[in-house]
């Protein structure tokens, strides 16, 4: 690093640490794993329509169209959340501190719910059930809560304020 120009560029745009890159990639992986779930449901649509229940009674034999509509809405809502989550991953990557905090809050809530299920209800967390998503959430939380990620988000915010003031 030589010369005044590169130093100035450094001040304006702090170097992105590996934890932020890894954290946002893990968030993308988390969204993709959700996308796979949607894909799996779509390929076996009729089977899943048959599982829709209302008040303990299967809806499928009574009103197949309503059952399909409910499943469609559920999937659509989930897909919409996943798209928002991808957007959040992008904002984390660009160093928005609030996005980092929101992503950590999501991951924490998901981890705490899984942990409550595991310790209170004795839920099995294995590769067949939710081990992959719990692992991804914990790794996201670890990466985004690291000192490097925190300093980066703060530095980006400071740089932005600095640019706005100029």
């Amino acid at each position: 690093m030589t010369g005044a120009r590169s130093v100035e560029a450094d001040v304006a745009r702090p170097r992105r640490p590996a934890s932020v890159v890894g954290g946002s990639l893990l968030m993308v992986a988390r969204a993709l794993s959700g996308g796979f779930v949607i894909g799996a449901v779509l390929t076996r649509w009729d089977e899943f329509v048959g599982t829709i229940e209302i008040n303990g009674a299967r809806l499928d034999p009574v009103d197949p169209q309503a059952a399909a509509a409910i499943l469609g809405w559920l999937l659509g809502g989930y897909g919409f959340i996943l798209v928002l989550y991808l957007g959040l991953a992008t904002l984390v990557f660009t160093g928005r501190n609030w996005a980092r905090v929101v992503a950590m809050a999501f991951a924490s809530a998901s981890i705490l719910i899984s942990f409550a299920d595991y310790s209170l209800n004795g839920a099995q967390i294995t590769l067949r059930t939710s081990l992959v998503s719990v692992t991804l959430d914990i790794l996201i939380l670890l990466a985004l809560s690291s000192t490097n990620a925190r300093h980066y988000a703060r530095a980006v915010r400071a740089a932005r304020k600095d640019r706005a003031a100029r």
């Binding site: 501190n97 967390i125 590769l127 081990l131 939380l141 985004l144």
Partner: protein, 304 residues
């Protein structure tokens, strides 16, 4: 703190953010322990066929779980003021601070270059990959990066090294930190730089952190004296002030579990008399009350 009630709104928001960050930091530590337990139970059920799961488990433990736990615990227990030891990025005690320097950055760089030291690359993805591949293939990598160690709450400003026998696993290396303005060594000695020099003797698995790291030679005094001697040979104007028994001689371990032992002496390398192209050095008499002529060694001992 008397001014907490009158804190401006901006400062208050920052402290809420800091509290949230600490909460997530610690929660992530606990979650990672749980994840390790989950993975361990899962791998028990998988049998020998999935040995890669054990490797995954080791990587998780060594590079994510243990570092986070070390960070949380050392933040509570290890003092953050100068105790003559650097700290690893996990907060553990690292290599001992065994050198101090006076002089400008340009003088330090020039003296080290003249003494045959090569500046280490910064740690990046590319340089990390290169040091791994050159270690495995036993290829020489003269500018190999050194791991970050912290002093004054920051990573070293720069590091220099000398490779031994064209093998990146063995090297002399020394990290430098610029002292904060007005900062003095214990005992009231004002210096511009402090440094930590150790000899990497091999690459291996640390039993403390379970990570793959360089193992350092136990006799850190030999490395310290090698650095001083190499600079004195190359820069005859160098003046040495040897602070005898700066620290008590001790026998300890660094953050990777390697033994270190030292007699506790701290040489201060004074390069202020060194002349650079277009800039003559400061003559001995002008260097404040510093005793000794260029090229000399002054020993400072205690009262008894």
């Amino acid at each position: 703190m008397p001014d907490t009630t009158a804190a401006p709104p901006d400062r208050r928001r920052v402290s809420v953010g800091a509290a949230l960050d600490s909460f997530f930091f610690v929660l992530a530590g606990f979650s990672s322990v749980w994840l390790a337990i989950l993975l361990a139970t899962e791998s028990l059920g998988l049998g020998w066929g999935l040995l890669w799961f054990a490797v995954l488990f080791w990587a998780l433990l060594a590079y994510l779980v243990l570092p986070r736990l070390h960070r949380i615990l050392t933040r509570l227990y290890v003092p953050n003021y100068f105790i003559g030891r650097t700290r690893t990025s996990d907060g553990l005690l690292g290599d001992p601070v065994n050198l101090a320097l006076n002089g400008s950055a340009a003088q330090v760089h020039a003296a080290l270059a003249a003494a045959g030291w090569i500046r280490a690359d910064d740690v990046t993805v590319a340089s990390s990959l290169r040091i791994v591949s050159s270690t495995v293939r036993r290829r020489s990598y003269l500018q190999a990066p050194v791991s970050p160690l912290l002093l004054f709450d920051r990573v070293q400003d720069f590091a220099y090294q000398q490779e031994v026998a064209d093998n990146p696993a063995k090297r002399h290396h020394v990290r430098f930190w610029r002292c904060p303005d007005g900062w003095m060594l214990p005992g009231g000695h004002r210096v511009d730089w402090v440094a930590a020099g150790t000899f990497d003797r091999a690459v291996g698995l640390s039993l403390f952190t379970l990570q793959v790291t360089h193992k350092i030679d136990e006799h850190t005094d030999i490395e310290r004296d090698h650095i001083v001697a190499s600079i004195r040979r190359a820069v005859p104007e160098t003046r040495i002030v040897l602070l005898r028994d700066f620290a008590t001689g001790y026998h300890s371990r660094n953050g990777g579990g390697d033994n270190i032992q030292t007699d506790g002496d701290l040489p201060v390398i004074d390069l202020r008399a060194m002349s650079l192209p277009g800039r003559p050095g400061v003559a001995g008499a002008q260097v404040g009350q510093a005793p000794g002529q260029p090229g000399s060694v002054v020993e400072v001992t205690g009262l008894s």
